[in-house]
């Protein structure tokens, strides 16, 4: 013990004096020794999130760090890593990705992970009870974004957006059928269903359209010839882009020459509307007749690589994201709040500012997620 008591002051003095000498030599600000006691080491909190939340999460993490949130005096260092939900799900399942927190786009991803692990008899990583049960932190439905002139040309038929996309894809003459030969063939973009939730959920909604009705889908609905034919026809003009944010960025930078339309999250569509205007073009947002809400579950992974301190830090971070201020901030980024009492229709709300672009407060009727077997069948279809 004596040794420890002696060693600490000498070591401390070495560091302090050394740093003071360094400051002297390099001309940096004078150091004030003995005025600060050693702070507890920061808790690193690795967070993997699906990329459509990026803008909001970056802002929220900056606010979180500025708030001085801590666990037993230890500051929390949130390290964000963007990864499409289904791609992250596979990496977490095989152990190559080990974050403390995972925020995929949708419960579809967490359900697939849970059943994957169950089937393999492996350790469950998602809590089913207690304080770490996944909680939705923000929400966003699926939408179709389309250049305004293209939307005007297609919508004359009055059909719903999935039918519009399908009809346009199967026209051998492309846009000439609609009186615009100069636009070439019909081109649309989506993310891969086996990597990104918006790719998977849009396939789900299309299968629902082909099957009809709003009852939950069955495996036969997505493996049957009717839907497979629909998919094949729809894919003739499709470009698959990895990354939800990348897809919308690509749509803007290449313009309608590459993408007449794309399927994405409502919040990404809203975020990119001003960029489109700055580029001299306008986008229209179209809502499917039946939608599903990406609920962005906050998952504190129950892996043995996550320490107790990280779990505690994760809860602090989750509560911060669910605070009124951060939920309100999410609305500014086009996300729908998960907490009650947050207004979407405030004066500064992008939902109100962009009604002319088709943004709706009410996304329309919603369907529940089907069983994991259906989700897996949709993923297999997309391979």
């Amino acid at each position: 013990m004596r040794l420890v008591r002696t060693a600490i002051p000498i070591g401390y003095m070495v560091v302090v004096l050394g740093t003071a000498l360094f400051a002297l030599l390099t001309g940096s600000r004078p150091y004030a020794p003995f005025s600060v006691l050693p702070a507890p080491a920061a808790i690193t909190l690795p967070v993997v999130y699906s990329t459509e939340q990026e803008a909001w999460l970056n802002a929220a993490v900056a606010a979180f760090e500025a708030s001085g949130s801590s666990v037993k005096g230890a500051p929390i260092d949130v390290v964000l890593q963007g990864r499409d939900a289904q791609a992250a799900r596979r990496s977490i399942a095989d152990g190559s990705l080990q974050p403390a927190v995972w925020i995929p786009s949708s419960t579809a991803a967490t359900e697939l992970l849970r059943t994957d692990l169950e089937a393999r008899g492996e350790q469950p990583l998602i809590a089913t009870s207690g304080v770490d049960v996944p909680r939705s932190i923000v929400q966003s439905p699926i939408v179709v974004i389309m250049w305004e002139d293209r939307a005007a040309a297609l919508q004359a038929s009055g059909k719903n957006v999935w039918r519009l996309l399908h009809d346009a894809n199967v026209q051998v003459e492309g846009w000439a059928t609609y009186g615009h030969p100069q636009w070439g063939f019909f081109k649309w973009g989506h993310t891969p269903p086996n990597a990104a939730d918006d790719g998977l959920l849009s396939q789900l909604l299309m299968a629902q359209e082909v099957r009809g009705g709003d009852a939950p889908l069955q495996v036969a609905d997505v493996t049957g010839e009717a839907f497979r034919t629909w998919q094949r026809e729809l894919e003739t003009g499709a470009t698959v882009v990895a990354g939800s944010g990348v897809l919308v960025n690509d749509m803007l930078i290449f313009g309608p020459s590459r993408f007449d339309t794309a399927v994405t999250y409502e919040n990404l569509a809203i975020q990119f509307l001003p960029d489109a205007v700055r580029r001299g073009r306008r986008l229209q947002i179209l809502y499917p007749p039946l939608n599903t809400m990406s609920d962005h579950p906050f998952v504190v992974l129950q892996g043995d690589w996550v320490s107790d301190e990280q779990r505690a830090a994760a809860r602090v971070f989750r509560d911060f994201l669910l605070s009124q201020a951060q939920q309100q901030r999410a609305v500014e980024f086009g996300l729908r709040p998960a907490q009650a009492g947050i207004a979407l229709d405030g004066a500064a709300s992008p939902f109100m500012r962009n009604t002319a672009a088709g943004v709706r407060l009410d996304p329309g009727p919603l369907t529940a997620l089907p069983g994991v077997d259906v989700l897996n069948a949709l993923i297999d279809n997309g391979r």
């Binding site: 070495v14 560091v15 004096l17 070439g184 081109k187 590459r258 990119f272 001299g280």
Partner: protein, 543 residues
């Protein structure tokens, strides 16, 4: 106490070292031992932008896991880079060819679909047909969409530009680079095949190999003045010779902007073919061999190159930004011949097997040539000079198509037809033997050699079926004085024969060779014993 002071000094030195270990902007000699190196191969048109941006990136002292990141940029044409990557002679962490097409070619030719980890655009530029503004206006630009089919109709029309009220412009002519190395040429060839099939997507190997498609390609080829190593050859000559050189040539939009920035007497305008075109997306390709730390470092670099400052810097060079937060601005304007709302539609990018088939089909169907090799065999060529020239000539002949017709003329005191013009299927061996048997002596009857070559080309002159060209290799002045430059002007006037003079050696007479080049709207190519092989290899891409 002394021990403590020494310890403090050591600590101070250590801390000082830590603060400077990431200084990398001073060049490769300053690379710290623990640096994470990012070998980055990029296509030439991005050189100015990337060189400046790499320096700016290094100035931020970027690190991964405390280790400094060092970017080592190398400029290399896209086609050449794909060959070297395939052969393993270069191993970049990041590769940025002009277009993603090259990654597909690499995958196809190398039989490895997993050669890259990711592929995202850095900056953009569409492929356009650049045309002199008055000519474009005569075709109805900017109100009427113009496409490949309009150009083909013009090529096939005996009236040429006369059909549009301008007989003084002669026939429609254009330039074409080599798809084996030029991204623009590769995109152009694909566009030609799409136009041939009247498709805008779903081009197949069968489409490419269909006789009708290949016939379409050959017909378009009738208007080609000559091929070229890269688009720079054509833009330089267009600057120099104006509208009399060629009517149009396909380029990247940035090349057109660069041309118009120079304030030419007659500007070029971009025609975005109504059948559709291709984007060159200048991808940031992370190669599969990259280590985890290199991947993290490359990600930092990618983020830096996509930030607003980097993207705005790229725009000053004429690139379109790849970040949606940067709005297009000057020089992406009509002032520089650009329509920012174009292209309206694209041609679908075909898979790798179609790319390779198209490249091969082009090689088999490119316009055939009549080429007369006029070689200086005067006394001053003796020794290593003539031996190296023989090797270069041999390489040149080996790279020509079997259906090309080639003749060999030598000149010293007099000019002599050593091998008359004939198809290489018939005379390749004879030519190669004759080249090896060349002896040197006497004076330099260069003009006599050219006049003799003119006679060889008599049959096909101005038929438009073939490129008619003379490759003149000489190291000096015409000293025989049996004919003059005035004779050359008279005999070659108003023919379509292009003379490509190679000024061989330091004592070559640049004045008389430049006179000849200017007269036939070509360029003088400098060559020496050290590089004559490369000169002949590059020149072979003109035919």
């Amino acid at each position: 106490m002394m021990k403590m002071v020494r310890l403090m000094i050591l600590l101070a030195l250590f801390l000082t070292a830590c603060s400077t270990d990431s200084i990398t902007q001073n060049g490769p000699t300053d690379i710290p031992a623990n640096a994470i190196e990012i070998p980055f191969i990029f296509s030439p048109e991005k050189e100015k932008w990337l060189t400046e941006r790499f320096a700016a990136f290094q100035a931020t002292n970027p690190k991964v896991n405390g280790k400094p990141i060092v970017v080592k940029g190398t400029q290399m044409s896209s086609g050449a880079a794909r060959t070297e990557i395939r052969q393993g002679t270069v191993k970049p962490v990041v590769w940025s060819p002009s277009a993603s097409a090259w990654l597909e070619v690499l995958k196809q030719e190398g039989g490895n679909q997993n050669v890259a980890l990711s592929n995202r655009p850095l900056v953009l530029t569409p492929v356009v047909i650049s045309m002199w503004r008055p000519m474009a206006e005569a075709l109805g630009w900017p109100n009427k969409p113009i496409g490949w089919s309009d150009l083909l109709a013009l090529i096939n029309d005996d009236q040429g530009w006369g059909k549009f009220g301008h007989p003084e412009w002669g026939r429609f002519t254009w330039g074409h680079t080599d798809p084996e190395i030029s991204t623009t040429a590769l995109s152009t060839v694909l566009a030609e095949f799409y136009a041939a099939t009247k498709k805008s997507r779903g081009l197949t190997v069968a489409d490419v190999q269909a006789p009708e498609s290949q016939q379409y390609l050959r017909q378009l080829g009738q208007g080609i003045k000559h091929y070229g190593y890269n688009t720079l050859v054509f833009s330089d000559n267009m600057k120099k010779y104006g509208m009399s050189y060629i009517s149009a040539f396909p380029v990247e939009e940035i090349t057109l902007i660069e041309f118009n920035k120079g304030g030419p007497a007659t500007p070029l305008v971009a025609i975005y073919p109504r059948e559709g075109t291709f984007w060159h997306d200048n991808p940031f390709i992370m190669m599969a061999d990259a280590s985890a730390e290199q991947q993290q470092a490359a990600e930092q670099l990618y983020t830096f190159l996509l930030n607003d400052e980097s993207q705005k810097a790229a725009m000053t060079f004429g690139f379109r930004p790849a970040s949606s937060s940067v709005a297009p601005a000057s020089p992406l304007t009509a002032e520089f011949g650009v329509d920012i709302n174009q292209p309206e539609t694209l041609l679908q990018f075909p898979p790798g097997d179609v790319l390779v088939a198209a490249k091969n089909a082009w090689a088999a169907n490119r316009k055939r040539a009549n080429i007369v090799l006029v070689v200086d065999t005067s006394g001053s060529m003796q020794g290593d000079k003539i031996e190296q020239a023989k090797a270069g000539l041999d390489l040149f002949i080996s790279r020509l198509l079997p259906e090309d017709r080639v003749a060999l003329i030598t000149f010293s005191n007099t000019a002599e037809t050593v091998v008359p013009l004939g198809e290489l299927t018939q005379n390749r061996t004879q030519l190669q033997g004759a080249v090896q048997n060349i002896n040197v002596r006497g004076k330099t009857a260069m003009y006599d050699g050219l006049l003799l070559a003119r006679q060889q080309l008599e049959e096909d002159v101005d038929s438009g079926d073939r490129i008619n060209a003379i490759v003149l290799l000489s190291d000096g002045l015409d000293t025989a004085e049996t004919s003059t430059f005035a004779d050359i002007q008279r005999e070659f006037n108003e023919t379509d024969i292009a003379i490509f003079p190679i000024a061989y050696g330091e004592d070559a007479d640049p004045v008389s060779l430049k006179e000849i080049a200017d007269f036939t709207h070509t360029i003088v190519i400098q060559g020496s014993t050290g590089d004559i092989n490369k000169v002949f290899e590059n020149l072979s891409r003109y035919f």
